[in-house]
Structure formats: structure tokens, C-alpha cells
């Protein structure tokens, strides 16, 4: 009892100068000039290690056909982008996106001393660490921690899921996970929880109890803000009826309704195709391409495409040579996709993978994934990448 009494008393004595912390300020009180146009980043995670070589196919290279006798995509089946590379036929929905100049492909993205464990490599991509370094915060989480002008709201980063990925967790700030804004709103509005939060002045302390109350109050006010802002927006665009597309539909709704969120995170899983890869990967790529196609057109219709950048990654690519089960095993470098209305370099960004110069049967990376993150942090989210990535990475030219 003593400690809390002391705190209460000390707050009372300071009552005259007591400043209400930002998190309990009503949103209406925020200055209107903060309501500027927001540039959004949408991160799409393909979990399981998508086989990049059967996604963007180096059909111009004979080695590809030699190494993948049973699972190679024939030149006449694929969608040719140039003389060397073409898209998997299941990505046909991306063809018009590509032709519009809304898509950029970066080949051979990876990192030094690649790890072939799903978990570890995903950890590395999400935390943007070195291969031998263990970070407990994610790269977007550290962006939130940086407390920059663009990232001060508790809803600055939203993951459309029931739980939050490590990528979205910072030391002091974290993104918010929600699959359905109405459900979170209902949850936080349970009379019992409302009562717990109502007029809470007791727990403004920095101790763990204060932290829990702060998180609860922020969640509730974010849920109200997200629900109240987005429910006004009428979504009339038709999306394919897949789980992935519905995540993107939720994101589009948030972006189009003017939510002041800067980073969205969605994922699609099932890419670990060790056996009988072709139908499995094909089914997922189709879901991916059709979802992205609808999403970008929806944004275009709402004049939001120029303010949006979509980034797609997977924790690793797969080995150049297929395995004995008509599948592929865990590999290293992989391609990344970028989408948006304001891409500086459209189409294929860099040279196709070199299938001759391999490292123990695996692609060598040309671009460190942290250069891609660094470029986005610097040029899109307006924060110095060295501050977030713990070292300076040279930026690229795609935006």
C-alpha cells in the first residue's frame, strides 16, 4: 500500500502542473495539421520459403532446365517479361500490374551466412539482424520506437491477424494485431473492461502495472479510432474469396478511409514445398497474384495507389536443383516484389540470378535485404535507416 499511496500523494502535490500523457488524450484534441496524406507501407510475408526460381523463371538460362527436369516451367507456358525471365503462369493476374508499371522485381535478395531453418531465417528477416545476432525487437518495432514524426500513434502499425509478429514489436512500442476491427472494438468495449479503464488515473506510473493499463487504454482507444474511422468507408470493390485477399481488403479499407497508420502487415503461408511442388505452389501463387491485383486496383480507384508501397518477401528461396520428390529444399537468396504507383524503377530491377556461380548449390545474394528495408525507411518512412537497422545500409533506387 505504501508505495502506491506515495505515488498518489506525489501526483496530488504536482496536480497543478500535471500533464495528461498523450495516450489518454482524446484523438479530437490532435492538431489538424497532423492529418496530412500518409504514405503507407504494406508488408506481405510469404511463409515457408517460396521457391523464387519457379516464381520468376530464368527461362533464358539452360541450367534452369537441366537442374529442374520435372518441375521446370516450359517457356511456352510462362509469362515472358524479357529475354531472360518470366512469371509463373499462376501469376497471370500480375501481368497487367507489371505492364502498368506498378511492379518491380528485385532478384537475389539475401544476407551473409544464410540460415536454412525456417524459424531462424524468418527471425533474421523480421528483426533485420545479422545471421549470428539475436534481436528481440523487429525492424518495424524499432521504427515505432524511434518516435519519429510519422510514427507516434499506437496504431501506426497494424497486422491483420489475431497475434502480432516479432517484426512489429519494438522495445517500448508495438504494432497492433487485429483481424477484424469490429471484433476488437467489441472486445475492448466489454462493460467490464470499460469499467477497468474508465477514469483510470491510478496507473500512470512507469511500473509494469502502469504499462499494462497503458497498453489496455491504448488498445481500446485505437480500436475505437480504427472502427469509427473505417466503418464510414463503403467498400464496393470485389475481391477473390480467399483468406489472403480478405486480409488485403481490410488493409485497403483502412488505407482508403484515411487511417493514419503507416505500416500494414499481412501473410500467406504454405510455401514449404518439399514434395510435389508444382500444384501446391501454383495454388498459392494464384491466390497471391489475384489478391494483389484486386488490392492495387482498389487503391487506384480510391486514389491511394501513389501513397502505397507493397513489399513481398519470404524467409528464403529454395535450392537451384530440385529434389527427388519433385519438390525443392531450403535454399538462400530469393526475389522480392515491390508494388506501388510511384515506383522509380519499374519492371526487373537487377540482373537475373546467376545459376552458374553457386555456393554449394545455392544462389549467391546480390542485394542484402536490409538495403531494401533501409531504402524504404529512408525514402518512404522518412527515418534514418542507421537508427533502425543498427548500421547504415546503402539505399537502392526503386523509389
Amino acid at each position: 500500500m505504501k508505495r502506491r499511496d506515495f505515488l498518489k500523494n506525489s501526483m496530488l502535490t504536482a496536480a497543478g502542473t500535471f500533464v495528461v500523457p498523450a495516450f489518454i488524450k482524446p484523438f479530437e484534441a490532435l492538431a489538424l495539421d497532423e492529418l496530412t496524406l500518409y504514405k503507407n507501407l504494406v508488408v506481405v510475408q510469404l511463409s515457408g520459403g517460396n521457391d523464387g526460381l519457379n516464381t520468376v523463371i530464368p527461362f533464358g538460362n539452360d541450367i534452369y532446365y537441366q537442374k529442374r527436369k520435372n518441375i521446370a516451367i516450359k517457356p511456352q507456358e510462362l509469362i515472358k517479361l524479357d529475354d531472360m525471365q518470366g512469371l509463373n503462369p499462376n501469376l497471370s493476374a500480375l501481368k497487367e500490374i507489371y505492364d502498368q508499371g506498378w511492379m518491380s522485381i528485385i532478384n537475389d535478395v539475401g544476407y551473409p551466412n544464410p540460415d536454412r531453418s525456417h524459424f531462424r531465417s524468418m527471425d533474421i528477416w523480421q528483426t533485420a539482424s545479422d545471421a549470428n545476432q539475436f534481436l528481440s525487437t523487429g525492424w518495424i518495432g524499432r521504427y515505432l520506437d524511434s518516435n519519429c514524426q510519422s510514427c507516434k500513434f499506437p496504431y501506426t502499425a497494424i497486422e491483420v491477424d489475431d497475434s502480432l509478429s516479432l517484426a512489429m514489436k519494438g522495445k517500448t512500442k508495438k504494432g497492433i494485431a487485429l483481424k477484424d476491427p469490429a471484433a476488437l472494438f467489441r472486445n475492448t468495449n466489454e462493460p467490464f473492461f470499460k469499467e477497468m479503464m474508465n477514469n483510470d488515473k491510478e496507473h500512470l506510473d512507469e511500473d509494469n502495472l502502469g504499462y499494462l493499463y497503458k497498453t489496455m487504454i491504448e488498445t481500446s482507444s485505437s480500436a475505437s479510432y480504427i472502427q469509427n474511422t473505417s466503418k464510414i468507408y463503403q467498400d464496393n470493390f470485389t475481391y477473390p474469396s480467399t483468406g489472403f485477399a480478405s486480409q488485403l481488403k481490410t488493409v485497403a479499407k483502412f488505407i482508403s478511409s484515411g487511417l493514419k497508420t503507416r505500416v500494414y502487415y499481412v501473410s500467406l503461408s504454405g510455401f514449404d514445398t518439399h514434395v510435389d511442388q508444382t500444384p501446391q505452389q501454383g495454388r498459392l501463387l494464384k491466390q497471391y497474384a489475384e489478391g494483389i491485383n484486386a488490392f492495387l486496383k482498389d487503391l487506384k480507384q480510391n486514389n491511394k495507389l501513389d501513397d502505397t508501397l507493397v513489399l513481398t518477401f519470404s524467409e528464403f528461396g529454395r535450392r537451384v536443383e530440385q529434389n527427388a520428390s519433385n519438390g525443392t529444399d531450403h535454399g538462400t537468396a530469393n526475389n522480392m516484389f515491390l508494388f506501388g504507383g510511384k515506383l522509380k524503377k519499374q519492371g526487373i530491377y537487377n540482373a537475373a540470378p546467376n545459376l552458374q556461380d553457386l555456393e554449394a548449390g545455392d544462389l549467391k545474394y546480390q542485394v542484402d535485404f536490409r538495403q531494401v528495408y533501409g531504402t524504404i525507411l529512408d525514402k518512404w518512412l522518412d527515418v534514418n535507416n542507421a537508427q533502425i537497422l543498427n548500421q547504415r545500409f546503402n539505399t537502392l533506387d526503386f523509389i
Binding site: N208, Y213, V275
Partner: protein, 474 residues
């Protein structure tokens, strides 16, 4: 209700050293000297029973069949089915093991032993696709949980799960793999800043030949062991793995590193270097006897000071186990325990990486907090589950073979609390305020007080109290 100082101390002790305490036991112990309660925790921890869900030969057979099938070019439909069946079975065994352990924690009479096992589970964090290896490592962590840290360290280092996880199977003479040597020093013993890259390279050579055989037993292979001279911590010699471990333990910094970790797990997120040094000297002087240092901690006056009570965020395991123990919960569909662990961010046997779960405030984000506060009404009142856990990256292969994406159905948690039994443990004339003071570790503030003054229904109050931010702390 007892308001004796001892009452709160015993409650604190059992929350930190175990998973809570039932009221009659608490009342009984609070009449005695605190020292007796501590002694009792340790004497109960002496009876050590292995987990034994996973059968060694069955697992070996399944893995052999799987390896055989993986090498094939074309599959007949039966073989395809067979292969999927094996993957499913192995992954089910892994989940069964998880459930056996969490149920053990819920029902154990040796809470300190299981709590220590949980600590070592996070300290020597490891993932294995082989559930038998996982079980083996867990049993090692239990067997030596309160024994000699040196023995524990050596046994963990020789366990197939760890040898496999940290690539020591690939660590051979002239082709060293440094993964194990690096984590041994960075995470398991002495910590960053106390060794050089050369120390890692040289010690990796010392662990060449530490492998396991197909029976899942440790095997030292002299033919791939590097017998050459090594320079480690400035000393030159023909060191083998155990000699390296001895040299690491010779450094007091190792005792300090382990004690800092024990302190943040059992005492506070904010390390107090003076207290840690006290523990560390004891640990070092007592030749790394884990029991000795834990007794020292529980006997320390600062362990019971106000800044160290009711201010630690429960890990998901502590929350789930504590709640289930408290209310004698039966899970009719124990798989739900996995869904809960996973949604809360601590899927046992599946740590995020070799550094384990970061703990503290990292357990809490908007979604995990809302879920934590919802769980008591789900578990105690058989509520409807309306959330899904993320797929674990290691389960992608399993996802990939399931052609049709599973349609997630809403389901009930299907658990029963034994209210009668719980209410019977409470003293006669127990008020709702007394109940709150018993269930919570932080002292009830005005929110909690207004909650209890408005109700005289003990069951309703228990559900409400366990659904508060205060209940997240221990």
C-alpha cells in the same frame, strides 16, 4: 483472513518459486517460520519423474521411414498417404509432449522442480523436429534442474537435440562448425564481452567429434575429433569439450551471467547488481550448486521487498498453469492448451530462437493483453474461442501437404473449473475483498476495491479478478 506478514511472503514465494498456492496450504505455512516453507519447496522437488510420452523406437522407426520415402523419385498414392501420415504422427507426438508437460506443471506436487525446468527450458532454448530428442532434453533439464550446473551444462551439450540444433553433427576436424561453441559462451554460460572470436574458433575445435548416434545416444567420435593444441582464454593445451567447459566455469563471470538470468526470471525485470553479486559469489563458492543459489535467493530479505513483489509480468506458461491450478481446471480437449500458448506467444518446446523468450514486457502487446484478460472467462466459464494462433514456421511443411486450407471453425474451449472444490478451499466468511487479496499479487487498488464492494458473489468475483491487468502480475 490472516493478515500476518508471513501470509504475503509465503504467497509471493509460491508464486515465484512455483505456480501459486492453494488457500489451506498457504494458511498452514504462514503459521510457520518462512524458512520451513522454503525447505518444503526443496524437499518436494527431490522426487523427479521423467516425461515419457514419446517412445524412442517408435519415433526412430517413423523417422527412418520418412527418410526412406524422401529419397524416392515418384510416389504411389499409398506412399504419398503414408508419408503424410508419418509427418502428422510425428507432429502430433510433439504436441502430446507439450501437453504432458503443461499438465504436469498444473498438477505437480513439486512446483519448484517444474519451475526450474521451465527456467532451463528457456535458458537452454532448443527446437527439434524429433519429439523424442525434445523429451530427452526436457528430462535432462528436470533431472539436473536443482543439481550441479556443470553436470546440467555437460548433459545438455551432449543431448542429441542440442547437438542437432546447433549443428555440432557438422563440426568436424578441419571443417569446424562454430555454432555450438558460440552459443555455449554467448547464451549458455558467460555472455558477450567475455571471450574473443579466437576463443570461439578454438573451442569449436575442442567439440569436434561430439555427435549422437541413430539410437539417440551421445557418441564421441575420435576419428573426427581435432586433437591438436588449442589456445583458449589465453591458455594453451590439447583441450577437449569438457576441458573447455571447465575453463569457462573457472571464470566468475559465468556465475554472474547465470545469476543475472535467474534474477530476472525469479525476482525482477530490473537487475539489481548488488543482489546479483550476492547470488553470484554464493553460486561460484558452492561450485555451481543450483539448489544453494536458489535457497540463497529465497532466503534473501530483498526477495520479499515491495519493489520485488507483485510487479513481474507472468509468462504465458505461468499464467495458464497458475490459473488452471488455482481453479482445478480440467481440459477435455487439451489441444486447446497449445492454441493458448501459441496465441500468447510462448509455445513450449518452440522458442523463437536459441536465445529463448525475451520475457518481461515483451509478452505484452495489444492483442496478447486482451487475450490474457479474456482467458479466465474462456477457461472458467467455457467460453467461445474466436481467435486463431499463427502457424509456426516449422509447421509449414505440414501446411503444404494439406491441400485444402483448413476452414477455421469457432469452437468452445471445453474446459471445466472445479468451482465446488475451489470454493471449499476458501475460509468460512471469505469476503470478495479477501478473495481479491488472495488471488492477486499486487495489492488491490481502488479499481479492484470498487469491483469487490459491488459484489458478494465469490464465483463472479473470481472470474472478474482474474480478468484484470493486476492478475497478469506475480
Amino acid at each position: 483472513m490472516e493478515k500476518k506478514e508471513n501470509f504475503f511472503k509465503v504467497k509471493h514465494l509460491y508464486n515465484r518459486a512455483g505456480f501459486g498456492i492453494a488457500y489451506p496450504e498457504l494458511e498452514h505455512l504462514s503459521r510457520k517460520n518462512l524458512h520451513k516453507s522454503i525447505k518444503e519447496l526443496f524437499s518436494n522437488a527431490q522426487k523427479i519423474t521423467d516425461l515419457n510420452t514419446v517412445d524412442a523406437s517408435e519415433t526412430r522407426q517413423q523417422l527412418l521411414m520418412q527418410a526412406g520415402l524422401n529419397g524416392k523419385k515418384d510416389f504411389s498414392p499409398e506412399e504419398k498417404e503414408q508419408r503424410q501420415e508419418i509427418i502428422r504422427k510425428i507432429s502430433q507426438k510433439g504436441r502430446d509432449l507439450n501437453i504432458e508437460w503443461i499438465q504436469r506443471m498444473i498438477s505437480t506436487d513439486a512446483p519448484l522442480l517444474e519451475k526450474m525446468t521451465l527456467f532451463w527450458h528457456g535458458h537452454f532454448a532448443c527446437r527439434s523436429g524429433n519429439p523424442y530428442f525434445s523429451q530427452q532434453l526436457n528430462n535432462i533439464q528436470r533431472k539436473y534442474a536443482l543439481g550441479s550446473f556443470k553436470t546440467l551444462l555437460i548433459e545438455v551439450s551432449k543431448s542429441p537435440a542440442m547437438l542437432q540444433y546447433l549443428n555440432n553433427q557438422q563440426n568436424r576436424k578441419n571443417h569446424p562448425n562454430e555454432n555450438f561453441a558460440r552459443e555455449l559462451m554467448e547464451l549458455f554460460t558467460i555472455g558477450r564481452g567475455n571471450y574473443t572470436e579466437q576463443d570461439i574458433r578454438e573451442s569449436a575445435r575442442a567439440f569436434t567429434g561430439w555427435t549422437y548416434n541413430k539410437d539417440g545416444d551421445f557418441e564421441f567420435k575420435p576419428t573426427i575429433h581435432d586433437t591438436g593444441s588449442k589456445i583458449f582464454f589465453g591458455k594453451t593445451g590439447n583441450f577437449d569439450g569438457e576441458a573447455i567447459i571447465d575453463l569457462i566455469l573457472e571464470k566468475p563471470a559465468t556465475a554472474t551471467f547465470i545469476c543475472r538470468k535467474l534474477y530476472t526470471f525469479f525476482v525482477s525485470d530490473t537487475p539489481n547488481e548488488v543482489h546479483i553479486q550476492e547470488l553470484s559469489s554464493c553460486f561460484y563458492d558452492q561450485q555451481y550448486d543450483i539448489s544453494a543459489v536458489m535457497k540463497k535467493m529465497f532466503e534473501a530479505e530483498w526477495f520479499y521487498s515491495s519493489e520485488n513483489t507483485g510487479n513481474k509480468i507472468k509468462s504465458p506458461a505461468e499464467l495458464l498453469v497458475g490459473l488452471s491450478r488455482e481453479f482445478f481446471v480440467t481440459y477435455n480437449k487439451p489441444q486447446v492448451l497449445i492454441q493458448l500458448q501459441s496465441s500468447l506467444g510462448q509455445y513450449l518446446f518452440n522458442p523463437p530462437n536459441v536465445a529463448g523468450w525475451p520475457g518481461g514486457r515483451s509478452w505484452i502487446d495489444s492483442s496478447s493483453l486482451m487475450l490474457r484478460m479474456k482467458i479466465p472467462s474462456l477457461v472458467l466459464n467455457d467460453g467461445l474461442i474466436d481467435f486463431n494462433a499463427k502457424a509456426d514456421p516449422e509447421e509449414e511443411a505440414l501446411l503444404a501437404i494439406n491441400r485444402k486450407p483448413k476452414i477455421q471453425k469457432k469452437s468452445y474451449i471445453n474446459a471445466e473449473a472445479n468451482w465446488e472444490k475451489f470454493l471449499n478451499t476458501l475460509p468460512k466468511n471469505c469476503s470478495t475483498a479477501d478473495l481479491a487479496a488472495f488471488l492477486l499479487q499486487p495489492l488491490p487498488g481502488s479499481k479492484i476495491k470498487s469491483l469487490t464492494t459491488n459484489s458478494s458473489d465469490l464465483k463472479k468475483t473470481a472470474i472478474e479478478i482474474t480478468s484484470t491487468p493486476e492478475y497478469q502480475l506475480c
